[in-house]
Symmetry: C2
Subunit: 147 residues, 2 copies
Amino acid sequence: MTLNPIKAFSDYIAAQGLKNTPQRRLIVDVFFKSGKHASTEELYDQVRTIDSGVGQATIYRTLRLLCEANLAREMHFGDGTARYEPIADDSHHDHLICTACGRNQEVVDVNIERLQEELATRYGFVLTSHRMYLYGLCSSCRGTPAK
Amino acid sequence: MTLNPIKAFSDYIAAQGLKNTPQRRLIVDVFFKSGKHASTEELYDQVRTIDSGVGQATIYRTLRLLCEANLAREMHFGDGTARYEPIADDSHHDHLICTACGRNQEVVDVNIERLQEELATRYGFVLTSHRMYLYGLCSSCRGTPAK
DNA sequence: TTACCTGCAAACAGTTTGCAGGCCG
DNA sequence: CGGCCTGCAAACTGTTTGCAGGTAA
């Protein structure tokens, strides 16, 4: 399966005639090693623990590159900030999000996936991908009414 | 079917001890009559063609009320702005989108909905809503490979 | 009368951009 | 060496909030 996404990125950089700088390498490395759905701020903090000289702008610019290279995807949950998800091909999952505490549980259900295929077929479509977001309240937030 | 959402809103207002002002009535009216997925800016413009004295803040505040009343839902597509979708209770649907021609087929599958509930329950969640986007190629686009 | 509302403008937060110098290729 | 990159800070954009004066109930 998956080629190292870090390698994939440097290939993309080269193919586009761009430059493979230490900052880009560091950011990409942190992004793929860190937990998923990192926000720019989280990435910024993590990157700066390693190299405190990196600027926010470079984080944004590199994330945009990653998206253009189809190695990351921008997502919006509920808070005001964009989050980024690595696209690893074999890491597909859906999202179960608590609207009270923001907790984001990644889920997969093969039966749902199967029904999605069937549904699409019924309309003459062949699926290539999908996104599913389930919103609700997690057990702890139901116990302690937020507000 | 559906109770008039405009009525539902004034009921909500009354139930909360809030006030039914002309600005709110105007905004809510425009929101439900306009096309779906309006952005705040589009709403603002439309509202101001009728009453140029309404301020942006009131648009935002009223949209928040609509969301709290469960009559609208905030969504994020790709542009930097939030969009709002009316919740009409009987109008729930998911999206089956052709990535070649952009065709957007609205679909519903009760079996998938049931499995979503089960899945959420398994994680201790109680669902309030969900969004599902299926991406693929429709029959006509498979015949004529785009790109 | 009394909260609640409103428009305005200032405040905010996230993101983008212009610039002068730096560095990859 | 030339063009792409970088950090910085200022600029932008969408959204929220404080305030002083209205207004629904």
